[in-house]
Amino acid sequence: MSDRVLLIEDDRELGAQIVATLHKAGFGVTWWTEGRVPDPASIDLLIVDLMLPGMYGLDILKALRATSDTPALVLSARNDTGDKIRALKLGADDYMTKPFWPEELVERVRARLRRPTLARNDVIEVGPLRIGLAERQVWVGERAVDLTRAEFDLLATLARRPGAAVTRAALVDAAIDADRDGAERTLDVHVSRLRKKLGDAGMIQTVWGVGYRLAGSAPT
């Protein structure tokens, strides 16, 4: 079942465009042009403009937050710090400043709807990879892989956020003895060995300028 998005936006042209964009991206969209408080049970995400006839966007947010933690994305044409800080304090999950690209909107909406994988705390599964944190054991499919301490820490750090690029500094911090010289160069060596051991070269991707990423189910 597709996620249900409620859009509250008074501008007809912009509202219609947003509805079309979200439809195309596979969301079920309801569109209100006037501000009133939605029923949290009927929506998965709220997109609300700040300046609305009927009810101010921040008031809608406040009323919604009183009863529910449905994700809310605020649209603002005024690039005003006070508005954004108030919106975030009232419980908005994110905001977007007009103008924005359709792709940008879809990305923000997806990010808000992405639910954390309800995995057991001590086991992470990414694609064919299964990582047992407690016993420090890694399997690719059914095959157990024997990793050094640094290699395991490296993989676990990447796997905690599948799909997200992890900076080299963070990886060095997590996996490599800081006292040893050439820690960053050592990192590449460890990654290269890890890739070899995992056997699937596509799993650990190099991200230019940032570090590495474990390709996962989550989109980037």
Partner: protein, 500 residues
């Protein structure tokens, strides 16, 4: 009420009570002197031979003035020791020779005898209240009528003969007549200091009033001329200080007016420049849209693609420009104010990358970001910092080539955050790198957009510089090997307790 009249009234208000007090003192002292003289005369009368017999024989005749019924004239008969009649009851300064000629003279004294019960055989004797004799308890005589502003003086004495009709004697006399009856002192000399004071006040105030009037006229003339000509005041007194204060105040007014003119000029210039800045990309966008409409059927799809990509670019540039202009309106003022709050840099990086990703993709540039797992919270102005980071990222995309990379990397480093934006574009020639760091491209030339060159970093980089400076963050530019630019923004993280 003008100054002269006010001073006159003030002087009168001060002088009148003073004069009244002096007059009262004078009247009191004249009364006192008259009372003492009457008491002395009466004692002398008691001491005369056969005074008792005469008084007891005919108290009325004993007490009558020498010329009965003619007060003020020389009384005959039984008072040889007072041939000149009235005692000189005036103030001692008047001397024993009696009142000076020309001054009113006192009336001769009249004596009334009373018995022990304070009854008198003399029908003209004033009735005395029963307790009046008690006033003699402390002395030989007592003043009966104490009215100060009255010429009549009465003194009661106990005679040496307590058993007859002359047990008590009331003696009645007058003080010397004063100016306006008995009220004012006899001479008009007291008027002299009062008049002198009034004249002195008027004389002293005259030039001051004149100077103030001239200053008023000068100030009005100066105001009429737009405060260009300062009023000239001579002298070294308070009026001169007033003039100087006005000169200083008018200088301040002129300065404020000039500052207002400058601000208005700057605002007009800003609006004109802004209009120019916005109109150019809008015009380019319009041209692209027009080409699209005209070329939809005739052009090759690849060509249309190119026009669409450039139109997107212009729209994106326009949005960034307008954001920058609104930020410039906040930070390019005399005293910019930051609206600080705890903000999540991870989320900020995600927003900035999401904003520019569509354009980066259109240009064939890979845009990635990496942030720490736990949110990095800083105390900053959200809008300003986001725009500052956005400008750096956008520049990295705009000046990169197809197939290039841009990376946004956020790390914690020893109580600080370090946000780096890296690209593998052309970088910046070292001489310009220096000026970039020094000036932040504040000049008007920086506003203009040059395609492909580094000069077009323009207002965006200026905003980034200003925002970094306002937050006291370090902003550094380094060329990368083999090519590209690294822009680093670093600043302190609040202590952990503040971020909890």
């Amino acid at each position: 009420m003008n100054l002269r009249l006010r001073l006159l009234l003030t002087t009168v208000a001060v002088a009148v009570p003073l004069v009244a007090g002096l007059v009262w003192l004078d009247a009191r002292s004249r009364h006192r002197a008259a009372e003492e003289a009457l008491a002395r005369i009466t004692q002398e009368r008691f001491e005369r031979p056969d005074a008792q017999a005469r008084c007891e024989a005919d108290p009325v005749a004993w007490g009558a003035p020498r010329t009965p019924g003619a007060m003020g004239e020389r009384p005959p008969g039984p008072a040889p020791r007072t041939p000149s009649g009235p005692p000189s009851h005036g103030p001692p300064s008047r001397g024993p020779g009696g009142p000076p000629p020309g001054l009113p003279r006192a009336a001769p004294p009249r004596f009334f005898a009373y018995d022990r019960a304070l009854a008198s055989r003399d029908p003209a004797a004033p009735r005395l209240a029963a307790g009046t004799a008690a006033a003699l308890a402390e002395g030989d005589w007592a003043a009966i009528d104490r009215a100060t502003f009255d010429e009549r003086v009465e003194v009661l004495l106990r005679s040496p003969w307590p058993d007859g009709p002359c047990a008590y004697v009331l003696v009645r006399g007058t003080t010397p007549r004063g100016f306006i009856g008995a009220i004012l002192p006899a001479t008009e000399l007291w008027l002299a200091p009062l008049a002198a004071t009034l004249i002195a006040v008027l004389v002293a105030v005259g030039p001051v009033v004149g100077r103030i009037r001239r200053l008023t006229a000068d100030v009005r003339r100066s105001a009429a001329g737009g405060f260009v000509e300062a009023p000239a005041v001579a002298g070294a007194d308070e009026v001169r200080q007033l003039g100087d204060a006005f000169v200083a105040a008018s200088a301040e007014v002129r300065r404020q007016l000039a500052a207002r003119d400058d601000r208005e000029r700057a605002l007009r210039e800003f609006l004109a420049n802004t209009t120019h800045d916005v109109m150019i990309p809008l015009t380019v966008l319009t041209q692209h849209l027009a080409s699209l409409r005209a070329g939809v059927r005739t052009r090759e799809p690849a060509e249309l693609d190119e026009v669409v990509a450039r139109a997107m670019d212009e729209a994106h540039y326009l949005a960034a420009l307008i954001h920058n202009l609104s930020v410039a309106a906040r930070v390019d003022v005399a005293e910019p104010r930051l609206e600080r709050a705890a903000i999540d840099l991870n989320a900020l990086v995600a927003r900035v990358v999401a904003r520019h990703r569509p354009v980066a993709a259109e240009r064939g540039i890979e845009l990635d970001s990496g942030v720490p797992e736990a949110p990095v919270i800083v105390d900053a102005d959200l809008t300003l910092l986001e725009q500052a980071v956005s400008n750096v990222v956008y520049n990295a995309i705009r000046y990169n080539r197809r197939g290039g990379h841009v990376a946004v990397v956020l790390d914690r480093d020893d109580g600080r955050f370090v946000l780096r934006v890296l690209d593998d574009g052309p970088g910046i020639p070292p001489p310009d790198l220096g000026s970039l760091i020094r000036r932040g491209f504040r000049s008007d030339a920086a506003r203009t957009r040059t395609t492909g060159g580094h000069g077009g970093h323009g207002i965006g980089l200026h905003i980034t510089h200003t925002v970094a400076r306002l937050h006291a963050y370090q902003l550094t530019f380094t060329n990368r090997e083999p090519s590209g630019l690294e822009v680093e923004l670093a600043g302190p993280l609040p202590p952990p307790a503040a971020t909890a």
